[in-house]
């Protein structure tokens, strides 16, 4: 793993149409912007603001061999492995969530070496995206030293600080070819407002060569211009905007809906005994068979959706 050439990185940015233009398209058209073998960064963290609609579209489009990175990976990682979309995931933590135990699908794929889970510390992931966002080849940091995580992290280096003589860790820049990020709202140009936790998404958008935004709703550019301080991701980094209500289902979207807990329990049950067959059955039922995103949500169920929404909007009750 070596950081990209700086001039290549700049050239890719220069070649993009960064004008203030309408970028609204369908999930299917956005999926076509991702090529087999691309490096793909996924926004959000664990069960929060996961761009599930875009992942759903990538799986339905039959993408292959994406090198995926994310701050923390939950069930979307299982499904990317099981669908063949990715055989290599770079992250700091990978399982559905601590209350569901260790992911059976992740275990089945990694222990049989059908797929790779490349582990870095959480801060290392963050600083790798930040280095990518800054246009520098690495960031120095003070954790991971002395650990097995460092021994196995390809591309990490230690150095003696030229100022203090201390040992520091250098983590290489991560400049994903494509970043997919889900937000509460953005305009047609891709000016995005994010409520609540931003995770690593802002650095990720700056680091990527291409950004696909999915959004709960598209708002006018006038509304964005009334509160420019609320714009967290600027239009100039964005290449596609897709309006997808409940685009993080069954995960949460801050202030709008919480995780769909019963559905997540269902997923855990389906993959508990036979992870391979369970993940396949889940993919058929919720990914391949639905006619469209609305049909996917219908299969999860209106009662679940309303419950998640009721719990989600309660964050502002205090």
């Amino acid at each position: 793993m070596t950081p990209p050439s700086y001039l290549d990185l700049r050239e890719k940015t220069r070649a993009r149409d960064r004008s203030l233009r309408d970028k609204v398209m369908s999930l299917e058209d956005a999926a076509a912007l991702v090529a087999d073998g691309d490096s793909l960064a996924i926004g959000g963290c664990t069960a929060s603001r996961t761009p599930f609609a875009m992942i759903w579209a990538l799986i339905r489009a039959g993408k292959r061999d994406l090198e995926v990175s994310r701050s923390i990976v939950s069930t979307e990682g299982d499904l990317l492995y099981a669908s063949g979309v990715s055989r290599h995931i770079i992250t700091s933590w990978f399982s559905q969530g601590i209350v569901w135990g260790v992911s059976k699908v992740m275990r089945a794929y990694t222990e049989s070496k059908r797929a790779r889970f490349e582990e870095w510390s959480h801060m290392a992931m963050g600083l790798r995206y930040r280095a990518g966002a800054m246009g520098v080849p690495f960031m120095p940091m003070r954790s991971m030293l002395g650990s097995g995580v460092l021994d196995r992290a390809e591309g990490a280096r230690t150095m003696e600080c030229p100022f203090t003589g201390e040992t520091l860790l250098l983590v290489p820049a991560l400049n994903p070819e494509v970043a997919i990020i889900h937000v509460q709202r953005c305009d047609a140009y891709g000016n995005a407002q994010i409520d609540g936790l931003t995770f690593m998404d802002i650095d990720m958008a700056m680091a990527a060569n291409k950004v696909i935004l999915t959004t709960e709703r598209i708002v006018s550019n006038e509304q964005i211009r009334r509160h420019p301080d609320q714009t967290k991701i600027g239009f100039f980094t964005v290449d596609a905007v897709v309006e997808v209500p409940f685009g993080s289902a069954p995960h949460e979207c801050y202030g709008l809906y919480e995780p769909f807990y019963s559905h997540m329990d269902l997923y855990a049950q389906m993959t508990a005994k036979d992870p391979d067959a369970g993940a396949r059955a889940y993919l058929d039922r919720f990914y391949h068979e639905p006619k469209n995103w609305a049909d996917y949500l219908s299969r999860i169920g209106m009662a679940e959706l309303l419950d998640a929404q009721r719990r989600g909007s309660g964050i502002y009750d205090d």
Binding site: S71, I72, F94, G97, E111, H122, M123, G146, Y254, G312
Partner: protein, 265 residues
């Protein structure tokens, strides 16, 4: 996996679960005014319990990017990255920024759970067995490595022989590495293991050797019990303290916090 827990005979059945004991005992170690970086599970629960008892001004940090929240009873988050973690927080920042507070030195205590620990307080949450051909691939470090590398640590975990081993299969989150000053030599001059809280007792680390030692035993636990459930030679001082049992108030608060026993079953 089967548990290798040696039998402990108690004259009276305790009125609390092992996880409740862990939460209570570790909450007591947190002090008013401190800033604690808490992981999910028992640490999260214990930090909230401390806020509701002796440390109302405890500042909790969550790795999702949350500074100083008050999590609502009955609405515990499934990880430290959901909106439930952010309730009534003072500030929300990115993951990278909140982790950098550890590096900058703003955190008094790092507080997390553990799957496997060794004599020098190294933690493994990555691989059971050889990393190249693991028997079990565990979820990995998350923020654990960063917290353990950069803060004084409290770890809360079940005390079982298979979890307390001579040497961890893999160092996910460093303790004192090989003991002595090997942690500083590896490039980690700050932080390190302070206490390990288990359902049998409270453990510390000797000042020079940095090997694990017993600080206190919980009510009804003998020196022989704790030794029998530890996979390495664990010294127990003759005059070892016994912790006061969880109070009805502490248990009542815990049960109100976690009525569904998400973390205290």
């Amino acid at each position: 996996m089967t548990t290798e827990r040696a039998r402990i005979s108690l004259s009276v059945a305790p009125a609390y679960t092992g996880s409740e004991l862990l939460a209570v005992m570790s909450a007591r170690l947190l002090k008013e005014g401190q800033t604690v970086f808490a992981g999910v599970g028992i640490p999260l629960l214990a930090a909230i319990l401390a806020q509701k008892t002796h440390a109302p001004g405890l500042t909790i940090l969550f790795e999702g990017g949350v500074i100083g929240p008050f999590v609502e009873a009955g609405k515990l988050p499934p990880s430290t990255n959901e909106q439930r973690c952010s309730r009534r927080a003072n500030m929300l920042v990115s993951i990278t920024e909140v982790l950098l507070l550890l590096q900058r030195g703003y955190v008094d205590v790092g507080f997390m759970g553990g799957a496997q620990i060794d004599r020098f307080g190294n933690l493994n949450s990555s691989f059971i067995g050889d990393a190249e051909n693991p028997k079990i691939r565990l979820p990995g470090t998350g923020g654990g490595n960063d917290i353990a590398s950069l803060a004084d640590m409290i770890v809360a975990m079940k005390h079982e022989k298979r979890r307390f081993v001579e040497k961890v299969d893999f160092i996910t989150s460093p303790g004192f590495i090989d003991g002595g000053d090997t942690r500083a030599q590896a490039g980690l001059p700050a932080g390190g293991m302070f206490r390990v809280v288990t359902d049998l007792g409270i453990l510390g680390f000797e000042a020079e050797s940095r090997a694990m030692t017993v600080v206190a035993l919980h009510p009804g636990v003998s020196a022989a019990d704790i030794k029998a459930n530890t996979g390495f030679e664990l010294p127990v001082p003759d005059d070892v303290e016994v912790t006061p049992a969880p109070t009805p108030t502490e248990l009542a608060i815990l049960r109100e916090l976690d009525p569904e026993q998400l973390y205290t079953a």
